[in-house]
Each structure stands twice: as C-alpha cells, then as structure tokens.
Assembly symmetry: C2
Homo-oligomer: 341 residues x 2
Amino acid sequence: MANMNDVAKIAGVSRGTVSNYINGVKIKKESQKKVEQAIQELDYVPNQAARALKTQKSNYVVFILPTIWTPFFSELTYYLQLELNKCGLKMLLCNSQDDYIQELEYIRMAQEQKVTGIITISYSDITPYLTANLPIVSIERYFDDTVPFITSDNFGGGQLAAQKLQELGSQRLLMVVRKISHNLGLQERQNGFISYCQKAHMPFDVYLDEGNSAGFRARVFRFFENNYQANIPYDGIFAATDRYADYCYDALVQKTQWHLPEDIQLIGFDGSKSYQNEALKISTIRQPVAQIAELSVAELIKLGSDRKKSKKTKYILPITFLAAQTTREKRKKNEEKKRRQ
Amino acid sequence: MANMNDVAKIAGVSRGTVSNYINGVKIKKESQKKVEQAIQELDYVPNQAARALKTQKSNYVVFILPTIWTPFFSELTYYLQLELNKCGLKMLLCNSQDDYIQELEYIRMAQEQKVTGIITISYSDITPYLTANLPIVSIERYFDDTVPFITSDNFGGGQLAAQKLQELGSQRLLMVVRKISHNLGLQERQNGFISYCQKAHMPFDVYLDEGNSAGFRARVFRFFENNYQANIPYDGIFAATDRYADYCYDALVQKTQWHLPEDIQLIGFDGSKSYQNEALKISTIRQPVAQIAELSVAELIKLGSDRKKSKKTKYILPITFLAAQTTREKRKKNEEKKRRQ
C-alpha cells in the first residue's frame, strides 16, 4: 500500500509538505495540486491514527445515551448523525444501559481517543469525571455552568398538557410518572403540571411510581384495574412520556369499559414516532428533536477544544401540542372529515 | 499529563516494557504489577491513536445501516452494541440513509481507521469496494462467498405467514410489499408466500408497489379505499414488514367498515417493538434479532484480520409466529381470559 513517502516522491515535494497537506496546514497552491494528483494516482489512504496523533484530535464525537431502543432516542440519534455528518464528524454511539460504570468507561475512552467531544444524555452524576480539555454538551441534564445544556421546555410542557386537558373538557386530572433520580426532565414536567392545576384550581393527583422500569407496565395495569371499576376518578391523564401513555392506553382499553377520548382523555410526552411517517395514535407534547440535535452539535463545535469557553450555557426549546386520537377536539374534526367524504 | 516515560520511571522498568504492556504484549508478572501500580498512581491515560498506529488495528467496528429510525434497526443496534461491548469493541454507527455514496464513504473511512471490521445491512452494490484486509459481515444481503452472510429465514417466514392465515380461516390471501432492488429479504418473503399459496392451492395476489418509500402509506390507503368498499377481495393479508402492516391496519380501520380480525386477518414481519416491553398489536413473523447480532459479532471476530478465512458463509436463522390482535386465535383466547376474570 502506498505511504506518505511514495506520495512525496511522485509529487516531487518533501514528505513534510505532504504531511502538512494531510493535516490541513496550508501549502503552496502549486504543491497542493501536485500532492492531490499523486494521492489520486496512488490511491493513497492517509492513516487516520497517525493523523490523530499529529493533530491530537480525532473527528469522532461520542454520544452517550441510556438506550437506543425507544422512538425518542432513535429519532434523536438519527438527527444527531445528520448534523454531525454535515460537519465531517462521525458518531461513536455509546449505549450506557443506564449504567453509571459504563458511562464512566465511555468518558474515559473519549479522553483516550482525544475525540472532538461528547454529547450526552446522562442521568448519572458524572460531573467529577469531566475534564477541562474535553468538550461536552448535555441534553436534558444540567451539570454546571461550564457545560452547555440543551433541553425541551419540560415545565411548559407539563403546563400545556394540563391546560389542553382542561380546555378539551376534562375536570379531574391525573399525572402518571416514575421517580428517576437526576431525571430533571420528568421532574420539571411534573412541576409544570402541578403549577398549572393549582393556578387553574383544577382538582388533580400525581401517580408517582417508585418501582423499577421493568414492572411499571404491570403496575399501571393494576392501578387502572383497581381504580376505574365503577366510576372514573380522573377523566384527564397526562403521562410523563409516550411510553407511559402507551401503558395507560392499553390498560384503559383492556382493563376498563371506558372509552378514549369520550370518557377519558390522555396526553403523553415526546411525540417521537417509531419510524419517520408513522401515524400518531396518542395525543402528545412534542419535543423539538431535530432542533435539539442541531443545537447540540453547533454548541460542541463552538466550544472547540476548550470546555470553559461556553458563555450562554442553557437552552430551553419550545414544545408543541400534537392532537391525535386520545383527545376530543381532533377526534371530532376527523369524524366530521369522514362524514364529509 | 503523565506520559509513558513517567510510567516507566515510577515503575522502574524500561519504556519498551510499558509500551509492550499497553499494546497487550506479555511482560513478566512482576513488571506487570509495577506498571499497573504506576499507571494507577499517575492516572496515566494511554494515547489510543499511538496504540492504533502501533498495533495497526483500532477496536472499532463500523456498523452501516440504512436508518436507525425503525424499531427493527434500533433493536438490532441495541443488541449489536451489547455483543460488541462484551468483546471490548466499540460501535461506529453509520447511518447511510440508503445513500450509496455515503456507504462508500463509510467503507473508505473504515479502511483509513484500520477498524476491526464492518457489519453492514446494505442494499447497495458495494462489492467492488471490499478489500481483502477489511473483515466484513453482512446481514440480510448476500455479497459473495468470502463475506459471512447472516439472515432470518425470510422464505420460511413468507411460507409461515400464508400458512397461519390459512389455518386461522382466511381464504383469499394478499401480500403487500414494495419493490426495493438488492433487498433479498423482501424478495424471499415474497417467494415463500407464493410458494406456500401455490402448493396449498390458495387463491392469492401480490400488491407489489413500485413507488418511493415516502408515498407508500398514502398508496396503501388508496388501495384499500378503492378495493374494500362493498366486499372483501382478500380476507388474509401478509405485509412484508411491520411498518407496511401498520399502514394496512390504519387504512382498514380508517377507510373501510371491516373489522380485524373478524373480517380480515393481518400478519406483518419483523416483530421488533418500539421499546423493550411494548405490547404487540399486529400479529407478525418474528426475526431472531438478538441471535443475528450475536452471530454477526462472533463471525467478525472469527475472521480476524483476514476476510478470506471464512468457511461457512451463510447462516439462515429460524423465524417464529407471534400472535397478537390481528389474527383470530389469539383474540379468542384473550376474550376467553377476560370472560373468566
């Protein structure tokens, strides 16, 4: 296989000139042309490891996320890779499985690899392991003022869900949520929901589950089975994620005789589809996923190699309400549309 | 920051010994202990770029897939990363967006990076770009005898879908599929479906769509709207993927007066959930995703650095039928269960 010396020989320039060209250092126009011709002629592939050693930076970005296997995370990964590609960066996907030790290993690896930076959705406390020379951008989790922090307006989303349920006719609201430590997003959705209900004098309650993730679906089923027999204690439900909303939907359909949205309305949170043109079933508060991805990459690049450079460190992006089949307005419109056809 | 010389000094060994230790070359037990202590004391982080240059292999595996944003691909990515982690390998996620040029760029990058290998689901013809020193494993797409090829039993899946529809009472079958060149998986599902119908003397037809992906949902809607007005031309539908099955389901519910599964039965293909404990709605042929991931990584490691080493190059993994709400048997059982409660 051709090496740098071969390129230099064919181009009639020094090895240093070829090296400069490859590492992005400016060389004379004339030399550049010769080097490019030689590279093409020899089909020379520069060794990235050697280049990384020289420039002390690789063009990888480590993306740490709890799991790839949810619509929200897979949509976010999709848009992040689009944005990284635009900037000539490659994604190292690190699926931490909510495991603290795994996350620290990924951060250690990022330091070893001298990557361009880290984008993370972490619910663990990795603050002590962050070093000044490793640029990092955080989605949804606030670390400290040196780490750019990008999040949806979770508080506003909680408010909006409660407001929509009320506007569309629900009278007693329930929020369904799990307790996950360090998950500021869920906490803020809850705060927003409670804040709206209190201001609007709406009766409400919060079903705050403290068990593990695996058993949550079964517990939601039990909850509805036990509490929705003879009457409807809450006729408007805000689930803190679309997955939780799915559980509520299935439980209501399979374990009770009530109908959505006539008897009970349901709103989730995230708005990600399982695939690009899936039809939405459950009404939801939509996170601006493409915008989160775009801003994360832009911030990482702005940081350059200095994590302390960040000035504005907090971005709270606007959410929107997407009406589907589990709230009344939309359903009515659809029925009218069908009648007209 | 500490370097290799500092480690050697503290450990009281030569720089070469430290280098050997870091690059996995065996050194004396006694020296090893000293080096490990020194590394710990200094919090020394070896430079991976330097190591890669030395060993001429990085511990990355490039995973090329058309998109991360479907349940099947995100589940496969999930399991692949689990398997790679077990072997101390890291995934470089390359989302080609079905773009041939992108795929070639990823392969070029893999060569530059001297990665451990490539695992790919590619529907493009990348054969001319494969080189002998780059181990590659292919999922679902057959290249040639030097490339290990791992796939679900798509032919058997097509047969099984037709057989189940017949056993559960359907009398005229339709397969809904898109024409995607080089997608052997879809082709084989179709071959299996037709083969079963012919042997069993079942009337059948294939709705083979030749348009683009983005407009497929709308065309499926139009198809059912136009053909399922007064009567039911086909009362058993096999959709070539769960996504297509989703389209059929929504179209039947929204555009016709017929009921699933009483009037029409529907079976999809993949069986991947949007998240780990989602409840399945549409009956389906399940691909053994975890097994595909496991075998892909095992084959890649077996290849080592020599792509030509592969002996057995073709693995066809068994599929299974998962009954959900769109075929009759399961529904009946559920109703009985509900009555008993």
